[in-house]
Symmetry: C2
Subunit: 751 residues, 2 copies
Amino acid sequence: MLSKIINQGIAIASCLLLSTSIMAQQHPSLVMTKKGVEKIRENLGKVPLFDNSLSNVKEEVDQAIADGIVVPIPKDMAGGYSHEVHKKNYLLMQKAGLLYQILNDDSYALYVKNMLLQYAKMYPKLPLHPQERSYARGKLFWQALNDANWLVYTSQAYDCVYDYLTKKERATIEKNLFKPYADFLSIGSPQFFNRVHNHSTWGNVAVGMIGLVMDDAVLLDRALNGLKEDNLPAGMKDNDGGLIKKEGQKTGFLANVDEPFSPDGYYTEGPYYQRYAMYPFLVFAAALQNSKPEIKIFEYKNAVLLKSIYALLNLTNSEGEFFPLNDGQKGMSYYSRELVSAVAIGYTYGGRDPELLSIAKKQNRVELDENGLEVALAVQQNLAEPLVKKSLNLSDGPDGKQGGVAILRSRLNDDESTVVLKYAAQGLSHGHYDKLSFSYYNNADEVIQDYGLARFVNIEQKNGGGYLKENGSWAKQSIAHNTVIQNETSHFNGDFDIGSLNHSDKYLFDVSDPNFQVVSAIENNAYPGTSLHRTMALIQDESYERPVLLDIMQIKSEQQNQYDFPYYYFGQIMSANFKYEKSKALMPLGDKNGYQHLWKEASGVATQDNSKVSWLNKGTFYSLTAALSAGDEIIFARLGANDPNFNLRNDPGIIFRKKAAQNATFVNALETHGSYNTVSEFTSNAYSSIIKLEKVRDDANYIAVKIHNKDNSILLFIMDVKDSSSSKTHQITIDGENYQWTGCVFHKKIK
Amino acid sequence: MLSKIINQGIAIASCLLLSTSIMAQQHPSLVMTKKGVEKIRENLGKVPLFDNSLSNVKEEVDQAIADGIVVPIPKDMAGGYSHEVHKKNYLLMQKAGLLYQILNDDSYALYVKNMLLQYAKMYPKLPLHPQERSYARGKLFWQALNDANWLVYTSQAYDCVYDYLTKKERATIEKNLFKPYADFLSIGSPQFFNRVHNHSTWGNVAVGMIGLVMDDAVLLDRALNGLKEDNLPAGMKDNDGGLIKKEGQKTGFLANVDEPFSPDGYYTEGPYYQRYAMYPFLVFAAALQNSKPEIKIFEYKNAVLLKSIYALLNLTNSEGEFFPLNDGQKGMSYYSRELVSAVAIGYTYGGRDPELLSIAKKQNRVELDENGLEVALAVQQNLAEPLVKKSLNLSDGPDGKQGGVAILRSRLNDDESTVVLKYAAQGLSHGHYDKLSFSYYNNADEVIQDYGLARFVNIEQKNGGGYLKENGSWAKQSIAHNTVIQNETSHFNGDFDIGSLNHSDKYLFDVSDPNFQVVSAIENNAYPGTSLHRTMALIQDESYERPVLLDIMQIKSEQQNQYDFPYYYFGQIMSANFKYEKSKALMPLGDKNGYQHLWKEASGVATQDNSKVSWLNKGTFYSLTAALSAGDEIIFARLGANDPNFNLRNDPGIIFRKKAAQNATFVNALETHGSYNTVSEFTSNAYSSIIKLEKVRDDANYIAVKIHNKDNSILLFIMDVKDSSSSKTHQITIDGENYQWTGCVFHKKIK
């Protein structure tokens, strides 16, 4: 559906914008329009999904009106009283505004009016928020970011009650509240407003939205194109170490569409922040489309805003929870309010894709605007079709040339196995140092986890809901991820500036055979003088009950190093086929770069044979088979050391360690198998089906692996490691047998 | 409903049994009867719950028939191949027998016949099972217990196909299989057969069931009354340290009803084993009722077998999972096949209680016999009524005078808080040393856990599915439980013989006020010279969002001791209001009695103020407030030390420690409050509502506690600790105020 729009792709000269004459606006005209209101009113009581959403929102707002308006003096961090009240207030105002339009009931407009007047009374006297932690403090909230949130929502409320207010009331509110508010967020906070970052997106949109309502061409231009002058030094950083300004940085909303989004719609900060930024991106786009259709914002950059919705929906596990790449809080999902709005806007402005309706059905609520109505109507008409998530490669970088994120999905009956391989760019200030890291899901269960962020968002007890020290000392470090760590240092030595200059590169993404999907990527810069090449194959074969993940990491270096290769699993260890010693006393595994946070619980030494560990998690067995070299170390680690405030989860990991190796290759296979039921107490298929994992070739040209199975079959995998061309013809001999094929990879059941 | 039956309670002279002439039996006549078969056939296709169950079973058995019969030479431990096949076989034969009767399709009878003939061929040559771990080895399985399981199910299959077989076939099967099998389980395994224990119940019933089918009065008498001669020495123990024989022990099925069940239907081994034993208890009772109605087995001991069904259904959390008292595997629930059968038998033979139907509805399957049909018919007729679990005190001991288990339940909207206080007897060989221990649930979530057993039932990798060493070194020890541990030694010094002689005593169980439910119990023998008195009040009050659990442990001793008082919580610590030091290296907390398994993660020292710890688990906040004395130690511990095979879960606990105290009182309050949602990222009520917990009186006569709340209210609780009489009148002065009341406890919002 999307292609129709993309093919019309047009470039916009932002300088054109001011020349389009600004006409007297109707109200409402942002996401909700006058025409939309009419259609909604006509359909009231006829469309269950809309009516139920309306009824829930009405109940909530009626209760809030009954409880009375509170506009407290700003004081607390996130999670604290004043923070939560102001947050509730903007959400309530936006909803009350919509209710006023839909139900034509003055009490909702009155509620918004009275609250706005209270804010208008308080705002002129407000100093900066007393909490000093942010690089860009707000006035209502500890950071300008939350102030921008407030305005993005409140401008919609204002739009809805605009005509209800007298001219004098509007003058008061605009003069004392909205104009200084918008100036503070922009001119008053250039380090916040003039970045390429989700923060700025919120700031730009806040200013743009209120600019549209107030018909203020200056604010709108500022929103779209940024501040002309910001006097910020290039290289300036925020309080989380994120870059504020780079040389020649474009700014404003359009720059924030241009730069962080790849042509595939992947947002470089990662899905958690993409979700967060989605709301301002899309409501402003809808508002622009409604007020300034000549901008054709939904066609901008080949319709990247629409594509980004699909990218985001695909960056989820089987229950719709986002992969917690970079700083991502686990549990956030496409059930969030931002995605409810995004799905409806995507549906209405993106060609009415019936697959989006299946997500709307799951969300089971819609925004109370015309987009929500369109979705609800279509759902009622049974137009929904399933959105089946497929294997997918999402490029990163403005031009799609800065690596990416690959998702392999393998479906068997009702079960889905999902591999997420990250070979992207740094991801701005929320990026982690985890080139070629992966996570793995069995349906919605994390088999091999990405830790996500170290933060309890909006829980005041934990550092005011803000990032914890351990986010830097643990969560961002390479050892916190399932990738290679050389000499116990993080990728790019954990240096943000260097990390930001680099990205991994795709080598191969081949999902043409659903039973043998391969992704392969290379990282040459994480450790100068060392190249890392990771290849993962998700294999379905009758020798296995469930998919097997073959994981090959080839390391080439100019000197000898120690290589650690962790797998952060969940569950209880069932067995290991090698001797290991549990530690009598637990010591941290290292003293820096995240290692200081890991307790060394046990360790063993690999023999010539494969090393195999099995565990049980939530009724499913998993077996990890590693073709290690004799003498390699196997470490059982558990998170939690040097964690003075219990900020970390105490999750376990298995680390394969090669000491004093120069070139080295890890070859591992991870099986999902069997089940255990605590009610029937039946156990099935509790053992690994792999007898032996054998590296049969590993040189400058090829890597080849044989998997010997319990059913006596042998699966052979060969890959050209120098040339991933799909047309190249190969002929090699392995164990006396001759193999010929065309393309980068070869795989065959040879017995 | 039950009372009708109980009031007819009659005693049975077991010597009468042999004199009742045994008449030629009809077949089937055990749980399924000829009459039942007719009624089932009449109703086929008309009763969805029955038809669906039939269809599922048919599909399973048809598949098994297609797969063919395998009767392997016995070899493996539980979870291993031969074990699992023989287990599947008996379950399949029982089902195939029923299908033959219901569908009148010879292929099912043929399947049973062929399998029985294979067993009859193998059995005479079988030596003892090669695995030597059990005190009573079986032949098909590593322990005679599993052999008995086999016969309990297979005797039903034989009953169903009895008339299908030729006389000669029956003779072969009985001579080569069933008779020697029954003799082996009884005469051949007296140490297994002649106990009071769930093992013997299975053994007795196996022999009794096949005795009924074969119309063998000798076997039936042996089943009911045990072996007359066993030549076992009194004091003999099994491989788990459980007592096999005590002086003057009565034996057989009737003794196994008499002794382990209390008059309330509580089974002294605990709910996990009660569930396990329920199947033989009830199918044999049903078979006896059908074959020998003159025994009136369901009226025996005031209808205790029927009462036991209710006891068991009440010993569950809100999702029907059994409280894992003593050796109990978590996750086992009333959805197990044993309870499916128990509910139907209880319904049919226990007065057709409509509340049982609500459980049957949840189970959503029935046994394919007449009891299952009765349940399914009644469900179809919408007769089901909810079984609302109430607060309940279940006595322990044959006469109900050996302490018990108290359950307090507090319901608020859709939420249920549940306290389980264990003050029972030892519980035979599966008992733990945990007098006055408790567990606490928020709906089905464990807030304060009972660890349960250290075993992975039927998972071969883990010690063949059997008990792990850590079951003795950790799970049974007192420190593994939420109770007092004196001087780092377990109750009764962990001595089974001494533990078996003792039990705690009820002091008070008063749930007359649903908003202030109190249970109180005393333990005088766990530590000679020390008395422990625990009082728990589950309080609902408008000062709190959710119930508060007030927990008072009064200790009086003849000498100074160290007292540890652990709370095994789940979740992430959010905050603590006292200083604590995280350990730089983790050392075990002690060197024996379970302490060797705990890592000491952190510790702090209590000040004069209350010590408060808050944590977050699954979206709910919990706060534990302790009125400690200045200088008391607070230890954060985590399980997992000295666990060479990763057999333990790495669960956390908070331990309050009083050093060198003689008389001491712990006063704690545990709040459930607030919520956190990872999708909306909204936090509510994240802080404790208790400002101060104050012990205002603690002497030989009274304990009194004031709870000062954030809303400025004060809740006063007073209890007479010497006399729990409900008629006694009290008058005391606290903080200058005079309080008068009648009964043991007083509570009032005094501000």
